[in-house]
Amino acid sequence: MEDKRQNISDLEKIKDNNENGNTNSNKSNTGKICSIVTVLVFVMMLSFFTIISMLKPDTGYSDTENRVLKSKPEFSMDTLIKGEYTSAYQEYVRDQFPWRKDFVRLKNYCEIAMGKSNIKDVLLCSDDYYIESHPRSNYESEIANINKEAVVEFSGRYVESLGEGHVSVMLVPTAQTVLNNRFKSGMVAYDQRDYIDSIASQLGQTYVNVYDTLKPHDLEYIYYRTDHHWTTYGAYLAYLKWTEGRDIEPVTEDSIDKIEVTTDFLGTVNSKLNIPMETDTITQYIPRDVSFLLNYNMGMKKTKSFVDETFLDGKDKYSYFLGGNPGLVDITSEFNNDKKLLIIKDSYANCIVPVYAATFEKTYVVDLRYFNMDMDEFIEEYGITDILVMYNIDSFATDKYVKRLK
């Protein structure tokens, strides 16, 4: 019982302290005025943001975040009872909150002010590099394991039918592994080679070791500073590596036109943090004196062009290449050599496709996320002679569609 009394007197002390704050200044009329001001400030803040947030017209697509923001959910008794309506409404209010971009930026400034150099899995590196860094768990997940098995099995199967030197797997490490020379002191990131090597050891000849190719160039511009992609130059270095030991005459640098497409590219990493950054430059590589015919998504668009210029006006400038991620692009070159290449890829391949296509009669570029046909059937039907699987290792380890290769 004694314990309790002490407890209560403790509490009273806190209360006293709290109330002291009021009474101390209460001697004049100040206390009352202070209270009124605090109440007014609070009420004004609440009403201000409430009213603006209710009146502000909804934004559909967020340019900076590159996604469609949540819209007002439809009300129904069913969704209400399941609790779906209410949670959708909560997300809607958050997504449509006024000055969304500015709030996100403010939050990230606060993190920087707290001395953090890793914000939302983005490492703030030297030389204006912002490098996305994913933890080990991404690469040790079930999906990562399934995808590993799928690609090993797939490549083994087609080495048998198409022959060695006709199947290759290129798993590109991202900047978190290659550009660790740009890290500030003490920074660490998961070394993706742990995962890549565990796949490579089972792939044998078909594996294209991009890390060893890119690492010596780590002081050059091989990855964007504000985007998760590699630059066209980085992709070209990997291309040269790919041609080694294969029956292919590489397209040399002096037979390529390099066109600087834009110098104010701010990529996905920039969107994530929404703080001011140095812009990136996008360069396009076009093999000189070769002309192509491209057929996007089975006749949806037929053109001679590998790019869609409309994307240069928006935020998502990397989608300039191939106009995003079409499910299937069927490319016909002017050579008649009966060589037909299938590239199964993510967006890392988009910038360098023209160079690969330059030495094949037909090139088929497939994105498994947006193309449903079974790959075995496809290879059979189109008489594919060469296969290249090209992913950045991060999207490879987390992609839900890679398992379709099995």
């Binding site: 100040t30 109440v39 409404y89 909560q90 209010v93 707290m114 890793n118 660490v188």
Partner: protein, 475 residues
Amino acid sequence: MVFSDLLFLFRFLPIILLIYFVTPHKFRNAVLFFTSLVFYGWGEPIYVLLMLFSTFVDFLHGKMVYKYKQQGNNKKAKIFVASSVIINLSLLGFFKYTDFFIASLNNTFGLSIGFLNIALPIGISFYTFQTMSYTLDIYMNDQVPQNNIISFGTYVAMFPQLIAGPIVQYKSVAKELVERHENFDDFAYGVKRFILGFGKKILLANNVGAIWSSIKDTGGQDMSVLLAWTGILCFSLQIYYDFSGYSDMAIGLGRMFGFKFPENFNYPYTSKSITDFWRRWHISLSTWFKEYVYIPLGGNRKGIARQIFNIFIVWTLTGIWHGANTNFLLWGVYFAILLIIEKVFLLKILDKCYEPARILYTFFLVVIGWVIFEFESLSGISTYLGYMFGVSGCEISNEYSWYVVVNNMILIFIAFLGATSIPKRLYWKISNVITFKGSGYIKMIVNNIGFIVIFIIGMAYLVDGSYNPFLYFRF
């Protein structure tokens, strides 16, 4: 709905405040009651009926207990108290502990009874404890029952304390339910308290929580002693700031509406013994158990053996109150044992010790307790303790652990400092030194700017959709 959400701040709260203060005093309880139902129903559209049921049952029971007590028929009064307690505990038992009970049966007897997979109604442990305190107060402490069911409903459902406490005993708000005087001073105090709690939750708890959540996911390869300690310290800070932040917000909101809720935390991490810790941590819960279980069981009045038994019972219940899982039971028993040891001899020795050593001793044991609290399985607990004490052969420290520490140093330091009374004492010291003419207004401006800054930055974290967990879904 939770307080740390944009929907609450910029839809629900302003609308409630508006309706509440334009309504005449007579109907304000009704406003609070019905808006609270919306608040609760937003997250639990079905279980709101359960809460209404509980409210109704206890309202009737309270009346019956009082009636028979007035008539001097203690026996009948007792029956109704028992019935109320049984109904409340059955609700709690059914919704919270059935699957745990089935699992235990299955384990012990090798059975395979199917689980019911009942979703736990949010806040059920809080409101059933509140409604029980009502009939118990009428019986034990001569409390007069509430005649108006809306007013009683307001007490049970009141949204500020509904989902995460503090557990408000009926007697402490009985007067305010009938007559309260909302005023600027109380409202202003409520605003400050709410914003401080909001800051604790959003800026401190969530951020140290994010560190813990990533460390918890770290596999054995990257683990080290340093990282394991950093992790569990972050969790210790997270649960303190999260819980006390919620309590602050609840107390603040209550004060805006004219209610004075009891304090729930008193710098628990500066406790000088485990006994002291439980007087400073979740005070409203320990008070509840003390008044309605410990003392009726005889407390410390029936000899040391009985007292030890009572402590054991109370802390086993405290443990299991936190969730239907073996680890919570263990966690309760762990503290029961520590408290008994202290009671029997350790407190006398501690009393003679150097104060910082006592604080360190207490904090260390509490942190070990959090490991038991946080990992559901025995293997999880022992693996993590293995990391912390380097038994599992992991390194003392490595590159990664230093990176995590350096990257979050400032945050962790601020969080530690804020868990002591140092910032507050410093504030008052400075505030009391500055006393020239008109200094009151300058302090006012500085204070208000401080609160605005906390609020706006907190909003920024909410808009960003940063890590924002609700920790009490199992309570």
